[in-house]
């Protein structure tokens, strides 16, 4: 069975979540990569092949696929013969797959942590209610779309990697009522994006707006810097850093919460992380209830000491 995977790319480069999605797709069937935008480089095609894609179907829609209805039409044209589609779950792809499902009648699960075939049907697992419950969902419709969260599958190359064939897909983009009149690119931070980072160090109200120590610890651990809604509301750090249900949902191997009390909105965006460590002055902060290791204390004392100890350990 062919399993289509919408390839996420950043400036022409295949992202790590896209490789995770291909890895997941291999466990369900034979992956077919769907590429929207300018033709992929030879390196990108080779990498997709290495992760098991047998074909790369290219819909050269340029920037025309910014509107969900147009992106959905392009994907529909590229996946007419496949019954399962995997995408990386983001606010943007959730809109695209909703449009696609309206076109094709597919059943959709987004924000999934995994998927498998059970008696010919796709079943997904995900967490709900601020990540306090595990749910398994069966997709009953003949076509299935799964939105998978980054960091939930370990990306690995195929045992027998092949060369993917590039196939051009003709797409007629539908007329839309909406018009994108201005696009202002957001300067990307160095390093891995928040949603994909293996380590996230977040700062909240307790930082008082000073992210020096939080950033230093994040860099030392090879992680990204996150923030609570309190901190972004204060304007201490940009909204792109916000971890939580209305910002970015993260599931890193290690989450370090510094000066974050752990409001339900925040917990819902990080509770499924591997190991959770927190530092907070308030012994009653709810973040401690979900922390593997909690320190009641000042982050301005604790972080420098921890950094010093880790550096000493590495130097030894």
């Amino acid at each position: 069975m062919s399993v289509a995977v919408l390839i996420e790319q950043r400036g022409g480069e295949v992202t790590r979540p896209a490789l995770e999605a291909l890895t997941l797709a291999r466990s369900l069937g034979s992956p077919v990569a769907v590429w929207l935008g300018d033709a992929p480089s030879a390196d990108a095609v080779a990498q997709l092949g290495e992760y098991g894609a047998t074909e790369v179907r290219v819909a050269s829609v340029g920037d025309g696929a910014r509107l969900p209805a147009q992106a959905a039409a392009a994907i529909a044209a590229a996946t007419a013969d496949t019954s399962v589609l995997i995408v990386i779950s983001t606010f943007v792809t959730k809109e695209i797959v909703t449009r696609l499902a309206v076109l094709t009648g597919a059943g959709v699960v987004v924000d999934a942590a995994g998927a498998e075939l059970v008696e010919g049907k796709v079943e997904t697992f995900q967490t709900v209610f601020a990540a306090t419950w595990n749910v398994r969902t069966r997709i009953d419709a003949e076509r299935a779309i799964v939105g998978i969260r980054p960091n939930t599958t370990q990306a690995s190359p195929a045992d027998q990697p092949g060369a993917a064939t590039v196939v051009d897909v003709a797409v007629e983009l539908p007329e839309t009522r909406e018009r994108v009149t201005h696009v202002e690119p957001v300067a990307q931070q160095d390093g891995v994006p928040l949603s994909e980072a293996p380590v996230v160090v977040s700062g909240g109200r307790g930082t008082g707006g000073d992210y020096t120590l939080v950033s230093e610890l994040a860099e030392l651990l090879g992680g990204a810097v996150g923030a609570s809604r309190d901190a972004t509301d204060e304007g201490w750090i940009s909204h792109e850093h916000m971890v939580g249900q209305t910002g970015t949902t993260v599931t890193p191997a290690l989450y370090v919460a510094c000066g974050i009390s752990g409001a339900v909105h925040h917990r819902g965006g990080m509770q499924a992380s591997g190991t959770i460590v927190s530092i907070n002055m308030d012994p009653d902060a709810p973040i401690f209830e979900i922390s593997d290791f909690g320190v009641v204390g000042s982050l301005f004392d604790v972080i420098p000491q921890a950094i010093e100890r880790i550096k000493a350990h590495r130097g030894a």
Binding site: E95, G107, W133, R138, V186, P193, R229, V296, I310
Partner: protein
């Protein structure tokens, strides 16, 4: 300017929640209006206030308890409310729900045309954020989603959309379905007069028959997905909390080193 705002009755996220036969168990005392829908009500009120005329109609779909959600919208200043309730709706997926809401939007629009439907960016219980898109498709109206700013002028709605890779400006003719984020505005607090009025407001209840929706087209039977298993996530084991007496930073580092995380 006539605007319909969809609001959702969700379980209180601080309280205990559970599933029965694959759907969320609703209890009478722990429900509230989805917090992010307050931004939708606020956005609608601001547009009507700026236009100097019009009305904001709050709509919810759900069992008898769901009326609490539209009463909250009335407290915030919505002018009137509609409650769609029918046992056959239970278990609907997002597409069934969109079909029901679209039918209710058309029915409200029969009195006088609606210009906008405004929704929140997500419901904090399910959080799929798919409904606004499905509703726009179902109505064949303009889709302007995830707005962090919204202006309506000369029959056009224009939004700012903050995506991870770009900030977009998107414009489209009315009527439109707009979803607003929690960055869009700061919701007002209910005032005493409105709280009293909301308590007494008569809220019509519409069934599927009132909406002309075929019961077989919605509900669990028509859903494209089925929850087959649900279980509460176990609490983390072996949790440690230490109070800093001078060496907690070192202890924290040792914990990470031992786990192979540093």
């Amino acid at each position: 300017m006539r605007i319909l705002v969809t609001v959702k009755h969700v379980p209180d996220l601080q309280s205990h929640r559970s599933f029965t036969d694959g759907t969320v168990t609703r209890t009478a005392d722990d429900g509230t209006m989805n917090e992010l829908d307050e931004n939708a009500v606020e956005a609608a009120l601001q547009i009507v206030e700026a236009a100097g005329e019009g009305e904001v109609v709050a709509l919810t779909v759900g069992g008898p308890d769901a009326v609490a959600a539209v009463r909250k919208a009335l407290q915030l200043g919505a002018h009137r409310a509609v409650h769609v309730s029918d046992e056959a709706i239970a278990g609907s997926d997002v597409f069934g729900t969109a079909m029901v809401i679209a039918a209710a939007v058309r029915k409200v629009g029969e009195e006088a045309p609606l210009d906008l439907v405004v929704t929140g960016m997500a419901a904090l219980d399910g959080l799929t954020s798919m409904l606004p898109t499905a509703l726009a498709a179902e109505l064949d109206w303009s889709q302007l989603t995830l707005a962090s700013a919204l202006t309506v002028e000369g029959g056009q709605a224009t939004i700012e959309r903050h995506l991870p890779d770009a900030h977009e400006t998107v414009t489209a003719p009315l009527p439109a379905v707009v979803s607003v984020t929690d960055e869009a505005n700061k919701p007002r607090y209910p005032n005493f007069k409105l709280i009293m009025a909301a308590r007494k407001a008569e809220i019509p209840v519409w069934s599927l028959a009132d909406l002309g929706v075929d019961a077989a087209a919605v509900g669990g039977g028509a859903s494209r997905t089925t929850v087959v298993e649900a279980s509460e996530r176990p609490e983390r084991e072996n949790r440690v909390t230490v109070t800093d007496t001078g060496d907690a930073g070192t202890q924290l580092a040792d914990f990470l080193i031992e786990k192979g995380l540093a």
